[in-house]
């Protein structure tokens, strides 16, 4: 039977919290970057695209280590934040940032493909009918790629649920603070007699991921019907 300790329940809660927050904070910049890549005539697109996609091809541990350098007390961003007494390393914030960075390319890629699939003449039609560019963005572009946005969010959410490598480097594995499901499983597997506990968390993990995909698919269908 499924038996869960208070720590396990805390890990599930943390996992959901991290995945939801990471997905929500990544959405606006993810949308903006996808817009630049898909619809703007900006120079240096290839470079931007390469940088965005880097976390997809790098080992997550490397991404985590780079983030550690950046957000550490002596890092560019970490040093700045330290002045405002904000700490990232070994906090929930660190776990969220790690998930957001690792899932970001999936989100951008999905939205970008959706945007590239929009017939440009819809956008042109809207502009000639008197809509400003931001008006067109919210009334035409976003609705026409809503399914791609949803798909990107689903992917990113699922990826965040499973994030391990970057999280353990940047946020550590502190029960109740930064220990998400994958980190808890890792801890159980390296503890004698933790196998059955690891297995219950694995089951929870599978159920959660499956639920996310199902919900995503259902939402996708309802959007397609409109």
């Amino acid at each position: 039977m499924l038996t869960l300790s208070p720590d396990d329940i805390q890990a599930i809660k943390l996992s959901l919290q991290v995945a939801v927050t990471a997905t929500i904070i990544a959405l606006p910049p993810g949308f903006a970057v996808a817009y630049l890549l898909a619809l703007s005539k900006m120079r240096g697109k290839a470079l931007l695209e390469g940088m965005i996609n880097l976390p997809l091809v790098l080992p997550p541990v490397v991404t985590g280590y780079l983030l550690l350098l950046l957000f550490g007390r002596k890092g560019w961003i970490g040093g700045l934040l330290d002045k405002f007494d904000i700490r990232i390393i070994f906090t929930l914030r660190g776990a969220i940032i790690a998930s957001a960075v690792v899932g970001f390319p999936l989100l951008v890629r999905s939205i970008r493909i959706g945007m590239e699939g929009i017939d440009r003449q819809y956008i042109q039609a809207s502009r000639t009918l008197g809509a400003k560019w931001w008006d067109t963005l919210f009334t035409i572009t976003v609705p026409l790629c809503s399914r791609a946005i949803l798909a990107g969010m689903t992917l990113m959410f699922a990826r965040s649920l499973g994030e391990f490598g970057a999280t353990i480097v940047l946020a550590g594995n502190i029960p109740g603070i930064t220990q998400t499901i994958p980190l808890a499983i890792y801890e159980y597997t390296s503890t004698p007699g933790g196998d059955s506990m690891a297995l219950s968390l694995c089951l929870i993990s599978i159920l959660l991921s499956f639920a996310v995909l199902l919900i995503g698919e259902a939402a996708n269908r309802s959007l397609a019907r409109r």
Partner: protein
């Protein structure tokens, strides 16, 4: 309307250039595909920036390279009806229709939408999903949507080319009615001379990216004999139809005509190819052809390989196309009396 344009746009393989001024409310742009029609349209609408030159509409500068003015599309007041309508698929017909109007300042919403919807016959479609509309319905909604945004000029980018000919000739009278009633200047872009003749009075001819000619549409129709050498098409409005069994009698103005009976025998617009008209020196004794009209030659003009003979038939104009040898034999010259003969089956109903 007063439109002044002088624009140049360079592409890797072609340079587009057009300089013209237009005052006529019903103008067209004619040319084969790839001749620069679409580029010109995009530059006028603000969807493509020219490399140099200017665009002024009713004295308002829309684009001026030297003064560094380039109004965005939403401030140009130039509407576009796209070839495939491009109704927003996530909105109902009603929301599509009012998309532009809702973005106008209140004092400029002076198009009577109820009347427009009635003229375009789209009142039954308002709550429909746009993806369920037919091609003709889509184009009518797209035109309505553009007009309601109250533009100073409407560009129609081959709006009929996606429709079959039956549908096309059904929609043309509606277009004519809308543009007449709402008095909106338009630039009708098409590669079909026939469409341009029905919709416009003046036409810009584009060739290989350049403006080649600017002339009356009817003049273009005569000199070019249509595209692909199908010959000149006379357009006749026939009415006062009377059933005579297998034939119909009707009138072209005051001139009585005969045509073969068809299922749809209401008055309307008919075409008669100039090559289907035979000219005789004198009235023939008897002929199988049912239409024989005494006319006077007004003028003749040469085209590629035929001679166009413009005839005055009781004040109305008919153009026959004959070979140069016939012109010599019949001694055709301005002022000469001839008889134009054509069959009752030579007519084709347009709408």
């Amino acid at each position: 309307m007063f439109l002044e344009v002088n624009v140049t746009k360079k592409f890797p393989d072609i340079i587009c250039h057009a300089a013209f001024s237009l005052e006529n409310k019903q103008c067209g742009v004619f040319g084969p595909s790839g001749s620069g029609k679409s580029t010109l349209m995009h530059m006028l609408a603000g969807l493509l920036e020219p490399d140099s030159g200017f665009i002024r509409l009713n004295g308002r500068t829309l684009f001026d390279h030297e003064q560094k003015i380039s109004l965005p599309p939403d401030r140009r007041r130039v509407g576009v009806v796209f070839q495939h309508a491009h109704l927003f698929p996530h909105m109902s017909v009603q929301r599509n229709l009012f998309y532009g109007m809702n973005r106008l300042p209140k004092q400029e919403r002076n198009i009577n939408s109820d009347h427009l919807i009635k003229v375009l016959r789209i009142d039954q479609l308002l709550n429909r999903n746009v993806t369920k509309l037919s091609g003709g319905e889509r184009q009518r909604v797209a035109l309505g949507r553009t007009i309601l945004a109250n533009p100073q000029l409407i560009l129609l980018d081959e709006p009929l080319s996606g429709l079959d000919s039956t549908l096309k000739y059904q929609i043309i009278p509606q277009l004519q009615q809308v543009f007449a009633e709402f008095s909106i200047p338009m630039l009708f872009i098409s590669h079909s001379l026939q469409e341009l003749r029905m919709m416009t009075e003046e036409v810009l001819v584009m060739q290989q990216g350049k403006l080649a000619q600017q002339l009356a549409t009817e003049e273009l129709a005569r000199t070019s004999f249509g595209t692909g050498g199908q010959g000149y098409t006379n357009l006749l409005h026939l009415d006062a139809m009377e059933d005579l069994g297998k034939l119909l009698s009707c009138r072209w103005g005051s001139i009585p005509m005969m045509l073969v009976k068809a299922p749809d025998q209401r008055p309307g617009e008919f075409s008669l190819n100039g090559r289907d008209i035979i000219l005789f020196k004198k009235h023939p004794d008897a002929s199988s052809a049912r239409n024989m009209l005494s006319c006077t030659v007004r003028r003749t003009y040469e085209t590629n390989w035929l001679v166009g003979v413009e005839l005055d038939c009781k004040g109305q104009t008919l153009i026959a196309e004959i070979v140069p040898q016939s012109v010599e034999e019949l001694n055709i010259r301005p002022g000469k009396e001839v008889v134009a003969v054509f069959k009752a089956s030579a007519f084709r109903r347009l709408y």
